[in-house]
Symmetry: C2
Subunit: 181 residues, 2 copies
Amino acid sequence: MSVLDHDDAKAFILHWGEMGTHWGVNRSVAQIHALLYLTDHPLPADEIVDLLRLARSNVSTGLKELQSYGIVRRVHVEGDRRDHFVAETDLWEMLMRITAERKRREVDPTVALLAELSARLSKDSSAPPYVRDRIVRMHEFISTLGNWYEQVRTLPKPTLVTLMKLGGKVARFVSPRKPKS
Amino acid sequence: MSVLDHDDAKAFILHWGEMGTHWGVNRSVAQIHALLYLTDHPLPADEIVDLLRLARSNVSTGLKELQSYGIVRRVHVEGDRRDHFVAETDLWEMLMRITAERKRREVDPTVALLAELSARLSKDSSAPPYVRDRIVRMHEFISTLGNWYEQVRTLPKPTLVTLMKLGGKVARFVSPRKPKS
DNA sequence: CCCCAGTTTCTGTTTTTCCAGAATATACCG
DNA sequence: CGGTATATTCTGGAAAAACAGAAACTGGGG
């Protein structure tokens, strides 16, 4: 008796797995996440193995990965020596943690590289000006996005929700010359 | 004589390629994009082949892909029968087009699936309530994000830039009870 | 201090993705 | 209407990623 008895749950897990592959997350990891997300009680690794038909080793690696994102955590279940796992179910929280971790892993190193290249290019008079210009602009752009993200991510969840519901209307605050039309 | 004579340009192109692989974009495609981004004049496919050491066929496929994202376009060069290609250099524009296309390709189908599953689960009394609940919440969440994105993306670029520079300060507009502290 | 359930790391295999070159198609010119 | 230059699609092989199973490790009992 598990969520996998339901075709809709199965469909969700499969889709989530595919989705993962399109965003650079391995299929098994995404499937494990989907399974835990749908389940309302902690699951031990063995059970994940049975349900998703994955090798024990992959489940172990996958769980480690999900924990490093902070969207799955180990919990202890009374009277069972095995580790059990549960997923974050607050979707805002989940999104924030995933984006934060991906920024750390991929965006930050990119910004670091761009900073280095920008610095070197500014001194190198043999570099074509348009190359320098484009690297510098890319650096500024990604840095700015990154800083914006770091600021926004610390806002309280309810504020974020409100802002999102506002949608395009936030623009009113910045361009007061443009009335409701 | 090309941008590839410069080590910094080379480094950028290689890094951009790797970056691609981490986000589900194939390395060649990302490299072609980086090369065109750094170059200040239209390049014909053959030249991309020489510069990046890729097969002609892959360059063709890659360019098609980049064009489908709308971040590279074909231009004609006086006195040359071959197609030439240039990349979008406005980074906001680039970001918007990439995100729009990825939403179309990956997020929209996901929302569609979630809608279907939600609908079916609401009628299926045999489904555990927590499964229904979690699918429904995921559906609402992603839909909301999607709608927010569609609204924001139509805002004029300068407005977006201003909003971004505001950073966390936008929160002031929504929670007026919290002064500057 | 040894045993054993539970977990992680390692290694060879399978699967998937990527890509070079060949084959095919399309546009342009005389 | 050929012929040539350019571009795209197809296909088999190479490279990379994912995975299963075995081996190694860990940490509580007894």
